[in-house]
Amino acid sequence: MDYFLSEEQLMIKELCAQIAQEKVIPVRAELDEKEEFPWEIMKVMASSDLFGLFIPEEYGGLGKGSFELTIAVEELSKACLGVSTTYAANALGTYPILLFGTGEQKKKYLPDIAAGKRLVAFGLTEANAGSDAGGTRTTARLEGDHYVINGTKQWITNGGEAEIYTVIAITDRSKGPRGASAFIVEKGTPGFSFGKKEKKMGIRASATRELVFEDCRVPKENLISKEGMGFLVAMKTLDSSRVGVGAQGVGVAQGAFDEAVKFARQRVQFGHPVIGFQAIQHMIADMATEIEAARALVYAAARYADSGAKDVTKVSSMAKLFATDVAMRVTTNSVQVMGGSGYMREYPVEKMMRDAKILQIYEGTNQIQRNVIAQNIIKEAAKAK
């Protein structure tokens, strides 16, 4: 299918495909096995300008939008979700500054982020605040010129590796959801440390870690937007990044599908390549159709966001939901098409299936996406009356 990419968009796709081919595929199994953070690959991506893709030109970026980021994430995800998660979580952590930061904050942080000199992470989730961000316990108390942060964030992607953290904490519990605020915390700030690094089913090259705040004092200027805007910052951030998770789904599905087709043409049983069996053909036809449908929806959602649309929540949730469910089905069926070989680490689909699962969980589980889509439909219906 031709999505009529511009010349520049094709360049981005081509460059990411080259990085995937030359720098990611040769090491992905090893990074997975050793649970090793992909620093070498991040350095290559930095010198290829990819960290600046969605950052305005005035801060040293390329000034592109959601759509270009989608293309980049999709290409990388074809090769390795652990790597693409590292890259996409950097964008997730950057959005609060990009969308709500002051001129000073942007000037201070965005150039380094665009250059890939400093990696970013986003900290919302806590032990008692998963799907329900209302359970947030981490607090920030204003004391003179500083906010004093206390609490623990869990399962934070790029935790420990990133230099810049955007973190949600409660500044006024009496105000409920309007009592949360967003902060920028730099690695190395006294009172800020890292807890255990998680051992995971998949995306094992990606680092997932606890952020621990013990009387951590951050300058007042590190408050993003105003006090009380924390959850809004978080929701708008997730609205922007969610399409990227959809793009990860499209990418990993395509990556697994390509392996399955290649294998099915070569594997001979009962005197035929297994691709000759109709049962396999139908699986392949379904997979290809679903991948294309997912890609079309993800691209449409990204272009919608870039059009300046005000409320992208429903569309971005649909793109995330559909594309990541497709990713799980397609990676599972790719293993099925390859039989026992698909189950072995010798072939990449085993890892792809393990990796794909996270996409249905992080940045809002797919149950939560369905809730959100339904809530929006109810709201729209009520307005239409």
């Binding site: 520049e8 460059l15 300008d49």
Partner: protein, 260 residues
């Protein structure tokens, strides 16, 4: 520091087939790439520029399509690109190629010239040293490490059959490089965007001030008479029988030949 890199566009030999009758490469439909050794030359030039400042220009002699290689060089960070092209250059041997390349380098001026060790299609490894001779400057070939470089001189380690030499040369000089030297970088997005619009300066023999008799077929004292695949090397002996006997036979043979 002004650095010139000579790059040659070559067929991707990983995908090339050979015409058994003529012994020549079947070039049709084979993608073209920058000669792999030359990508190491580009990388060396760019990292020297990062250290010392200055400019890097890429030079190639070839048909109009060779422009693609120069654009690729720009996407990697090369500042300027020159394409020596025209019918008059057709049928060049290494001497005529080196003559044309030295012509353009004289024109643009360079403190350091970097070539690949050899081209993967022609394979002679002659062009680099010949360019240096035309320019009357020192050259060091098979460079695997650049130890030091400054405005006056360059100190390198060159590969030899029996180890390596450390050599220092005054600038201007020419070096030819091997793969061990570095890992070539990937292009950047800004580089790719620049490459799209960059101007490639084209030059013919007239612009270079070269008379027709020194370039192309006319300037080539060597001519290809026959192309063939060389037979296996002679003087080999294959041992047979059980492993133990083979080992004994090998030891005896080596003792007889006074190798042990």
């Amino acid at each position: 520091m002004k650095i010139a890199v000579c790059i040659k566009q070559v067929p991707d030999t990983a995908e090339v087939r050979i015409n058994r009758e003529t012994g020549t490469l079947i070039r049709e439909g084979v993608p073209s790439i920058i000669n792999p050794y030359d990508t190491h030359a580009i990388e060396a030039a760019l990292s020297i520029r990062e250290m010392l400042g200055g400019t890097v220009c890429a030079v190639t002699m070839g048909p109009p399509q060779a422009e693609a290689s120069l654009r690729e060089a720009i996407s990697l960070g090369v500042d300027e690109a020159f394409l020596v092209t025209g019918r008059e250059f057709a049928g060049a041997d290494t001497l005529a190629t080196a003559c044309a390349l030295s012509g353009v380098i004289k024109k643009i001026g360079a403190d350091l010239i970097i070539c690949g060790k050899q081209a993967i299609d022609g394979d002679t490894a002659q062009v680099g040293p010949e360019v240096a001779e035309f320019l009357d400057i020192p050259h060091v070939s098979y460079v695997k490490k650049i130890i030091e470089v400054n405005a006056e001189s360059i100190k390198v380690e060159r590969m030899m059959d029996d180890g390596s030499d450390i050599v220092e040369a005054g600038l201007p000089a020419l070096i030819t490089v091997v793969r061990e030297l570095n890992t070539p970088r990937l292009p950047s997005l800004k580089g790719k965007m620049n490459a799209k619009k960059a101007e490639i300066k084209k030059m013919g023999a007239a612009e270079l001030g070269l008379p027709p008799e020194v370039v192309g077929f006319n300037g080539s004292p060597t001519q290809v008479k026959k192309i063939f695949t060389p037979g296996p090397r002679g003087g080999r002996k294959q041992l047979e029988g059980p492993l133990e006997e083979q080992i004994d036979a090998l030891i005896n043979e080596l003792l007889e030949k006074k190798c042990l």
